[in-house]
């Protein structure tokens, strides 16, 4: 069993296609990722980045294709996975506090009627501390800033104690302090040998943050090490003509223009 875990890739996707109504959102996507990497999923709006993540997690039905987590179907490997959904996916006016939300990450480890207790509380507090939110444990979640809410979601994924993490735009709309807290955390996860897949929008930070990059626009455009795949030519191909390159102080900086 141990051996098997070592040999199988954290995530293998074969010929994945997904459609909403009649419109294909993902077509024939196949790739396999390496353990212990930070992987950025990059592509224009509507490229199917979030859909890829949801389909891999079994949250939405797929038309065809196979998803394997450490060599086995997702259903058998749920406990190896941590998930950070988009912050806007929930109503933050829900009657609960930060600690309580983080404890929800342990619900998968509790039995049918099991209730979170002292152990879950302790684990949740540890994870809140890791994201710098220990002082906000009893704060009602609607009174947290966007960045703080994002960090609570992150802590909830951490407390799941997974091996493979899926994060859907954790950097979207957060302040600089939170962005720094998140990236420090991602690197910490990597040091522990965990694998993290991140849907990412800011092209300027891709090279700094990620070991590998997955370029997506309905179809898989490229997947590989950042320095090999994250090139001007590949980005042009992924984004179509909607990409402008700004030269500034010798560094090529990238920006997506509206189109």
């Amino acid at each position: 069993m141990k051996n098997h875990l070592k040999t199988a890739a954290p995530l293998t996707i074969e010929g994945l296609s997904v459609a909403y109504q009649k419109k294909p959102v993902l077509r024939g996507v196949s790739f396999s990722i390496e353990e212990g990497e930070l992987i950025g999923v990059i592509g224009p709006n509507g490229a199917g980045k979030s859909t890829l993540m949801k389909a891999a997690l079994g949250l939405i039905p797929r038309l065809s294709g196979e998803v394997l987590i450490y060599g086995k179907p997702y259903r058998q490997q749920r406990r190896l996975i941590g998930y950070v959904p988009q912050r806007e996916s929930v109503d933050w006016d829900f009657p609960t506090n930060a600690l309580d939300v983080v404890m929800m990450g342990r619900y998968g480890h509790l039995g049918l009627f099991g209730r979170p207790g002292a152990k879950e509380r302790r684990l949740a507090m540890e994870c809140l501390a890791k994201v710098g939110m220990a002082d906000f444990a009893t704060r009602q979640i609607s009174q947290l800033s966007g960045g703080q809410q994002q960090r609570v979601f992150l802590a909830r994924a951490l407390v799941q104690d997974a091996k493979l993490y899926f994060m859907d735009e954790p950097f979207a709309g957060v302040d600089a302090a939170t962005e720094k807290a998140i990236i420090t955390l991602l690197q910490e996860l990597k040091r522990q040998g965990k694998t993290v897949i991140v849907v990412h929008h800011d092209l300027a930070t891709v090279e700094e943050y990620f070991d590998s990059v997955l370029l997506l626009n309905v179809e898989l455009q490229a997947y590989g090490k950042t320095e090999q795949v994250f090139t001007q030519q590949m980005l042009q191909q992924t984004y179509g003509g909607r990409l402008a390159f700004l030269e500034r102080g010798g560094n090529a900086r990238l920006a997506v223009t509206k189109g």
């Binding site: 079994g58 609960t96 998968g108 509790l110 979170p116």
Partner: protein, 312 residues
């Protein structure tokens, strides 16, 4: 006071009081989850959809048994929810409009059936029209017993599955990621709502029963930021409404229990929206005044400092 004492000792009155209280309690509890899942109006739809179900159940069996009514109303509610789902999936009509269409057409059909029953050859049909606005006083011992069992089991299910209900209400996507059978849990919540609606119909009636599901939950939200407390407070508010409604209606003649129960719930809501700590209108006004004063003081302090500096 003396009349009140006499009423409390009246066993019939005790039955009605008990069942209305339990009914309020269980609708208050289940209402919290539907309110937080933004499904408050679903209760109203289910209630209106229940009418044809109840009528058909009566036409088929010829008896006014709560169990058959429950089955009929449950089946009708199921058809209604599927109808709403089908309309939203296969047309450009949004969820609220679809609910409106289904609610009114089911209710219309129910009224037609009710009229047919009243003018038809069904014996023992008297009292069926009471389902429109309810008639708590018409309840008999066996009804009260059924209602008590149903209410208590409803509360027991909510207690046992509190964790699941909470996560599915807050973040169904994450729940699904954990491997929770989210669709099944959502259906269970819907089923519990149908049960709460059907047992409530007899006391409060088809038209008003939704109020008992929505109002206590909304009121409870004003008093707490914890779901556990909210569910308890909502249950207590529901129970209080039922109790107060029964007592007031028994004090005078020709005072209907159901509508009074709903009015009692509304009164509790008004108190909550005004005096709720932090969220209430009064608390918000006070907070704003306090902040304004502290800013004024700071400003004044700065100005005095500046003036002091200028004279030196």
């Amino acid at each position: 006071m003396e009349t009140l004492w006499r009423l409390i000792q009246d066993p019939n009155m005790q039955w009605i009081f008990l069942s209305c209280t339990l009914l309020g309690l269980s609708s208050g509890v289940i209402g919290c989850f539907s309110y937080l899942r933004k499904q408050s109006l679903m209760g109203d739809t289910l209630a209106h959809a229940a009418l044809p179900g109840i009528c058909i159940a009566f036409m088929l069996t010829g008896t006014k048994s709560l169990l058959f009514f429950l089955l009929g109303a449950g089946a009708a509610g199921l058809v209604a929810t599927f109808g709403i789902g089908w309309i939203t999936r296969n047309s450009r009509i949004k969820h609220d409009a679809a609910m409106g269409i289904v609610l009114s057409s089911f209710f219309g059909f129910g009224i037609v059936l009710l009229t047919i029953i009243q003018h038809g050859e069904y014996g023992n049909q008297s009292g069926l029209d009471k389902f429109l606005f309810g008639q708590a006083a018409a309840m008999v011992g066996s009804d009260v017993l059924t209602m008590s069992i149903v209410s208590l089991s409803l509360i027991a299910v909510c207690t046992l599955f509190f964790k699941q209900f909470k996560l599915v209400s807050f973040d169904p996507g994450f729940a699904r990621g954990l491997g929770y059978p989210v669709a099944l849990i959502e259906q269970l919540l819907m089923f519990l709502m149908v049960v709460a609606v059907v047992v409530g119909i007899q006391a409060v009636g088809v038209v008003l029963v939704a109020a008992l599901i929505i109002t206590p939950a909304v009121s409870a939200r004003y008093w707490t930021d914890k779901l556990g407390f909210m569910v308890v407070i909502s249950g207590v508010f529901g129970a209080l409404s039922g109790g107060i409604g029964t007592i007031i209606s028994s004090l005078g003649s020709n005072l209907p229990t159901g509508p009074l129960t709903v009015l009692a719930a509304t009164a509790l809501f008004l108190i909550s929206i005004l005096f709720g700590p932090r969220r209430g209108l009064l608390a918000k006004r006070m907070l704003r005044l306090k902040v304004a004063r502290s800013i004024d003081e700071e400003q004044g302090h700065k100005e005095r400092q500046l003036e002091g500096g200028a004279t030196l």
